[in-house]
């Protein structure tokens, strides 16, 4: 496994800060090429399909309105979902945090005397670190989404929320399959690789009677659940087992069945650049003699209600996990997902992760953006990600500005000083003069600064800076135009 980053830490409590976590990726040509290639393919497909949809902006507005309405009435819709789902034969469980959700799921599996469980791709289960917990409890956990199989067999972590193995290319998949399946003869032909995965999967589908899924949408009106996917492996998990446990964040609810009309259109186009995703599964509770006979929904809060309580940040929960923001993000394009130290990478991860951590961890993530605005432009539910990034940055500064360790941090020192200096023109002008004198010591004969001390060194590690000019603009104005107009006045 020569070129794959080994075991990045996707726990925001333990992960290194973003600038540090990004370094190994920036030095890894294969990884950067894999990521850039994969998202360029998706972006191109998305671009074509958005372009053909002449009412795209109206669809975005409709999707944003539906999600905003849900969040403003979340309690009522969740209770309605619980009542309707229960009436249809399902069981609804409420989990306030990750630990509670994991325990509920483990207890349900133990009631079933399950020793193994199959899973549909669910980022929410990665958020609560479900797999290692179930494995530690002695259960065999088997992913069935092709990308998740690659990650599980290769002992890898997801780097994207829609295509989690996007950082791994075809020959690396071959390497993982050949090694873990004991098939050294396997070629990297996509058909051969898919065939190997299918052979591996069929036995799991036929043998294992318990499954775990996530949810794209919960429908309050019907108590139903909707899942979209590309492979059909999800549908196998939803139909073959005896027991199905669906784990869903509390924000995933939609008011009406008809809302799917809008939401499915924006999701498929945004996520994979398809008019319609290949498999859309919808079910309500339990149907005797058909499909799982024990159906449970675990509703997960895990920090979501604290986000809901904040007016400006609430829009974060509109997210439908399409990943268009990360596909459009110039930062993600260079770093891939692992640098974010969270199962939610990219722009949405940069705002969601620190909020899920109640701002106790992942404080470097709101700064992992150049604020270019590409994410906001593509977001199908119009989450103003740059606005929330700025809000979270101000919360980080409020946490840190009185911190003694940060007091002498050059950036903090500089910005505090700049706040005072820029409030008084005479002081600003005096500091400009001082800067010019100081700058002259580091300016070379060619008139450029090639190396600066302290935080300036971060600039000059890859960029020169032209030396301070002889005169500021206002000094020039004072000498030329201001005098002229005085003369004119006289």
């Amino acid at each position: 496994m020569s070129h794959i980053v080994e075991h990045p830490v996707l726990d925001p409590r333990l992960a290194p800060p973003f600038p540090q976590a990004a370094l190994p990726v920036l030095r890894n040509p294969q990884l950067r090429k894999n990521v850039a290639h994969a998202i360029d393919v998706i972006q191109t497909k998305r671009g074509k399909l958005i372009h053909e949809k002449t009412d795209w902006q109206d669809l975005r507005s409709a999707a944003a309105a539906i999600r905003t309405h849900v969040l403003e009435n979340l309690g009522a819709y969740l209770e309605q979902f619980e009542a309707r789902c229960t009436a249809a034969g399902g069981h609804v469980h409420w989990a306030s945090d990750a630990a509670e959700a994991r325990q509920i799921i483990l207890d349900l599996l133990r009631q079933e005397k399950a020793t193994e469980v199959i899973k549909i791709k669910t980022m929410t289960s990665a958020e609560i670190q479900l797999n290692p917990f179930l494995q530690a409890a002695g259960l065999g956990v088997f992913e069935t989404d092709l990308a998740e199989i690659i990650l599980q067999l290769g002992n890898q972590e997801p780097s994207h929320i829609v295509v989690p193995a996007l950082h791994i290319n075809r020959s690396q998949v071959r390497e993982i399959f050949a090694k873990s399946m004991g098939r050294p003869e396997l070629s990297d032909d996509p058909h051969a690789l898919t065939d190997a995965a299918r052979t591996y999967l069929r036995r799991k589908f036929l043998d294992i009677p318990s499954a775990i899924s996530g949810a794209n949408y919960l429908i309050a009106e019907t108590g139903g659940v909707a899942i979209v996917e590309s492979e059909g492996n999800g549908r196998m998990c939803l139909t073959l087992p005896r027991t199905l446990i669906t784990l869903a964040g509390i924000e995933k609810v939609l008011p009406r069945f008809d809302d799917l009309e809008v939401m499915l259109q924006v999701l498929a186009r945004s996520a994979t650049g398809e008019r319609m995703n290949p498999y859309t599964s919808l079910w309500n509770g339990v149907t005797p003699g058909d499909g799982p006979q024990n159906f449970h929904v675990v509703l997960l809060d895990n920090g979501r209600s604290s986000i809901l309580a904040k007016k400006r940040e609430r829009q974060t929960l509109r997210c439908i996990r399409c990943a268009a923001c990360m596909n459009s993000c110039p930062v993600y394009r260079q770093t891939g997902g692992h640098a974010y130290g969270s199962v939610y990478p990219g722009p949405i991860g940069a705002i969601l992760t620190p909020q899920l951590m109640q701002m106790h961890h992942a404080q470097s993530l709101p700064y992992a953006s150049s604020l270019c605005g590409a994410c906001y432009e593509v977001c199908p539910v119009k989450i103003n990600i740059p606005e929330i990034l700025l809000e979270l940055r101000s919360q980080v500064v409020d946490q840190e500005r009185h911190d003694l360790g940060r007091f002498f941090d050059p950036l903090y020192l500089g910005l505090r000083a700049a706040g005072v200096i820029l409030s008084r023109a005479w002081l600003f002008h005096a500091v400009q003069r001082l800067g010019r004198i100081g700058g002259s010591f580091v300016t070379r004969k060619d008139g450029w600064i090639h190396a600066m001390p302290s935080v300036g060194g971060k600039w000059t590690q890859t960029r020169d800076l032209r030396g301070f000019p002889k005169d500021t603009f206002h000094a020039w104005w004072q000498q030329n135009r201001a005098r002229q107009s005085e003369k004119g006045a006289k």
Partner: protein
């Protein structure tokens, strides 16, 4: 027509030639230009780094300084984006009613340079002459922040002698991002490397933009790499004429 120039703190300090070019350009077009000597900064650096109260003080200061001015011209799309995107939130959160009224009266009088030329003065041909191959970098704040659209291209198209080289991936960020360029210096540099491939690939002599901040980042790397291309603010191209070529403004 009267207008007052807000030059911005970094143009004042590091790029005075851009300010001189704006003066020469607008005076040539018959604008009576003013310059408020008490001006400093719009507060963008503070706001974007999370220093909201400092940003608010500077915002308040700027709005009051220009209370009596007819048009405010700013040769920096990112500072204009700061005023349009972030000031409303700052005044909403930290201001009072009277300040919010002052801001409401201030906002429609703010123009980015290319907006002022095209929307207010109604000119596309400013009589410029710049016999060079040039590529235009659309800064994110100009493109997505204040939606400059084709204004920069309409202005460049009318510059005599100018050979405009189209830049691939025009909507991709160059990686500057203010304090992002030092807080995430390595990622910023990786984004810069990718952008430079596109920029240098145009074989242009100059890369221009309506933001000296992106240009400082791109130009700094060009200088470091002996890349054979220079950066230049679009005001300097538009100010340049046969009788007073750009060099004379430096």
């Amino acid at each position: 027509m009267h207008a007052s120039l807000f030059i911005t703190c970094y143009n004042d300090t590091l790029f005075p030639e851009t300010g001189r070019a704006v003066v020469s350009l607008l005076e040539r077009l018959g604008v009576e230009l003013d310059f408020h000597p008490q001006q400093t900064c719009c507060g963008q650096m503070h706001a974007n780094t999370g220093f909201r109260s400092e940003a608010y003080s500077l915002a308040k200061r700027l709005v009051r300084l220009y209370a009596d001015v007819e048009h405010i011209v700013i040769p920096s799309s990112s500072c204009v984006a700061m005023i349009r995107d972030q000031y409303p939130g700052l005044f909403e959160e930290l201001g009072n009613d009277s300040l919010r009224r002052e801001f409401a009266a201030f906002l429609p009088r703010v123009y980015e340079l290319s907006e002022f030329l095209i929307d207010k003065l109604g000119v596309e041909d400013v009589g410029a002459y710049f016999p060079h191959r040039v590529t235009y970098h659309a800064s994110c704040h100009g493109l997505r922040g204040i939606h400059l659209g084709d204004r920069p291209f309409r202005l460049l198209a009318k510059v005599r002698g100018l050979d405009l080289a189209p830049l691939p991936n025009l909507d991709r960020c160059c990686g500057f991002g203010g304090t992002f360029s030092v807080k995430n210096a390595e990622v910023s540099s990786a984004m810069l490397a990718v952008k430079l491939q596109d920029v240098l690939g145009t074989q242009a002599e100059y890369c221009t933009a309506l933001d000296n901040s992106c240009l400082m980042h791109l130009g700094g790397a060009m200088h470091r790499q002996y890349a054979g291309m220079k950066t230049i603010h679009m005001a300097q191209i538009l100010a340049s004429t046969e009788s007073a070529p750009m060099e004379a403004l430096l």
